[in-house]
Symmetry: none
Subunit: 195 residues, 2 copies
DNA sequence: TTCTAATATAATGCA
DNA sequence: TGCATTATATTAGT
């Protein structure tokens, strides 16, 4: 069955990968992976291909390690207490602190920790912001960039937050549609059964 | 939500009709945005390309492709219970609406319609599939059709899924490059300022 | 616990 | 094909 090859140069899909010579008809001789290795059948891992996530609010300086969870922001988000060297250290600090501080304080540490781990602190919209967003959403659930910018200006929020809010709002609407559809289907079936 | 229709699949479209016809004179006092900006009237896309997209996965009966990840669950996937009988009806309704509404509104209809017709259910790749794809990507981020076909066979995926995966993967790589360049520039500025 | 902000990424459409 | 955008599955904060 004329096995085509993952790597045209030299890799055969057949079990007996005897020929690793390369240069059959292709110039890319760099390809010296076995099907097994490509299929990941023998070794797991090698996660090093993980790409950095997009985190504009963290200002990283010499970000060499490239594990997003160990990135050390330099200047940062509003009330940052920690400017330290390692996440592990932070974690230890937090754990140590736990028994000495109040719930609120621990919460604060937890927030710092999550900030360190690279997730944007959850935005707490005000009542008014939500009202405005909901009103706009009722009229147009797909606001373009200019509308989002205008909203951002008016509401004193990042345009990104607006965008995310609309995404999540649409998902919520859809969810509710699904649920009501499900209920209607269920009711239809039920009443059919009763007839 | 007191839908006007017994058929759940109608809800999105008819709702859309209602809301778009209703809000013009129904401006709420809280909202200080211009209608034009809210409606996004500056957008100028053409809707005339009403070509029916190819959606093999919406045909639940002939879904013999047998990829467990792309199969349509009978109940859980939205609208799958209703798709069979009323697509034509929806289309007619939408077409009737078209001449009464703006381009933006028609865009919205189109979006509703395509939502009704169904987007391909999101494929959830397995760990192993991703490992293999990542490995191949490291060697060649532009696999030709033959490689993609082989991958599809080996991984029990549609070739289309492979293609899309590589597209998204390239985009991701590019994003990460852009970002690290941006950070480098920024850090250069910063350290220059500190010197 | 529920709701939802945030993240990651699959899918779509256009140029 | 790249790109921008959208949908959606998931994680996690309140």
């Amino acid at each position: 069955m004329a096995s085509t090859s993952l790597c045209p140069a030299n890799t055969s899909v057949s079990q007996n990968c005897q020929k690793t010579s390369g240069f059959v008809e292709n110039k890319t001789a760099q390809c010296s992976f076995s099907i097994e290795s490509i299929l990941g059948l023998e070794q797991k891992k090698d996660i090093t291909s993980a790409v950095k996530p997009h985190r504009p609010w963290t200002d990283t300086c010499t970000n060499l390690g490239n594990n997003p969870h160990t990135q050390i922001p330099v200047i940062s988000y509003e009330n940052s207490l920690f400017r330290a060297n390692s996440t592990a250290m932070q974690e230890e600090k937090v754990l140590k602190c736990e028994k000495y501080f109040s719930v609120t304080e621990r919460l604060s540490f937890k927030r710092e920790l999550s900030w360190y781990r690279g997730r944007r602190p959850r935005t707490a919209f005000t009542r008014n912001q939500i009202d405005v967003l909901e009103n706009v959403f009722k009229m147009n659930s797909y606001p373009g960039i200019d509308i989002r910018e205008e909203l951002a200006r008016k509401l004193d929020l990042d345009e990104d937050r607006i965008q995310i809010w609309f995404q999540n709002r649409r998902a919520k609407l859809k969810r509710s549609h699904r649920e009501s559809q499900f209920l209607m289907v269920k009711n239809t079936f039920t009443s059919n059964l009763l007839d």
